[in-house]
């Protein structure tokens, strides 16, 4: 791993970045180190992963708002709550990666912010909510696939691909619930 030591030195001694205790631990070989290893541009990776965390925060909030909207049947609510659990796992995995790179994961915004940003006021029934969720999940699958070439390590590529897989799974379930036809063409996501 000698080729990475200049980067490590830069981070430690140039003084332009503050290094969290967790980041330092990661460099010293704790279990969180895998996300750091091989990154020749940790500051850039942190930026990109933090944008993904922001997306996950919004997804979590969207399912919370939906569950409390009174627009969903109990079985659909249950599906949403399950999906929210997946998004929380994504947030945590991405936050660990950011911390291991020496960065600080972005915080969530207020629920009021998401209510406004997502246009929740215009949702009138269950189908509206499902369509919103389908749009978010489809967009998230595409976002992760588009992000892969910009991330710098194999671990991060694999992490983004795992996220994309979950989002595509969610999109398929939501599309089915809305009675959408199965796409004729393959390569449904990314590109």
């Amino acid at each position: 791993m000698t080729q990475h030591s200049p980067t490590r030195r830069n981070i430690l001694f140039t003084g332009t970045q503050t290094l969290s205790a967790a980041g330092l631990m990661a460099m010293m070989g704790s279990s969180a180190a895998s996300a750091y290893q091989g990154s020749d541009n940790p500051a850039q990776d942190v930026q990109l992963l933090n944008a993904a965390i922001a997306l996950e925060h919004e997804g979590i909030a969207a399912y919370t708002i939906a569950a409390g909207s009174g627009l969903l049947t109990p079985d659909v609510t249950e599906i949403g709550v399950r999906f929210r659990g997946h998004h929380r796992e994504h947030r945590d995995a991405l936050a660990s990666a950011v911390t291991a790179l020496g960065g600080t994961p972005v915080e969530t915004e207020s629920e009021a912010h998401y209510v406004e940003a997502l246009g929740v006021a215009s949702l009138a029934n269950q189908a509206d909510v499902l369509r919103l969720a389908l749009g978010l999940e489809t967009g998230a699958a595409n976002a992760y696939l588009g992000l892969i070439p910009s991330l710098s390590t194999a671990e991060q590529h694999q992490l983004a691909a795992q996220m994309a897989g979950d989002e595509a799974y969610h999109a398929a379930i939501l599309g089915h619930a809305l009675g959408e036809p199965i796409p004729v063409a393959g390569m449904m996501f990314g590109g």
């Binding site: 850039q44 990109l48 944008a51 940003a117 489809t138 967009g139 595409n142 976002a143 992000l147 910009s150």
Partner: protein, 139 residues
């Protein structure tokens, strides 16, 4: 080889390398310029590829987009841009947007957007949709 000849030779090699490097870029640009964007397809692609993070009128993981075509980068109020994009001095035109969408971190190292759109026609379509959302140029 004399010192002078050596320098001439190095200069020649450098010139050939520069030509070699710029040619594909020039060609790629030409291709982009001849692509005609399909606004309706662009709107559909925008929904599928961009709306995980962007909205027309709200700041989400990314900044709001209405009016972005023709505007300076990093100019939406209330959105926390990366320093890199805010200070980039870029004006969003068909050309800068094409370069951005094909590789954001390549155009603006340190930006927080990393999503790449590989297909040139997809980019042209999305760009013509973004252009349609901008107020007409004042004359």
């Amino acid at each position: 080889m004399s010192e002078h000849r050596k320098q001439t030779f190095i200069g020649l090699v450098a010139a050939i390398m520069v030509i070699g490097m710029t040619m594909p870029v020039a060609q790629a640009r030409q291709v982009t310029e001849t692509l005609v964007g399909d606004m309706e397809r662009g709107e559909r692609l925008y929904r599928q590829r961009c709306m995980a993070c962007h909205a027309l009128d709200a700041n989400r993981a990314g900044p709001s987009h209405r009016g972005v075509f023709g505007r300076e980068a990093g100019a939406v109020d209330g959105y926390r841009y990366s320093g890199a994009l805010r200070d980039s001095g870029i004006i969003w035109t068909a050309e800068t947007l094409d370069s951005w969408l094909s590789n954001p971190t390549g155009l603006v190292p340190g930006t927080s957007m990393g999503v790449r759109t590989r297909n040139a026609q997809d980019r042209a379509d999305i760009i013509s949709y973004l252009e349609s959302l901008s107020p007409a140029e004042p004359d």
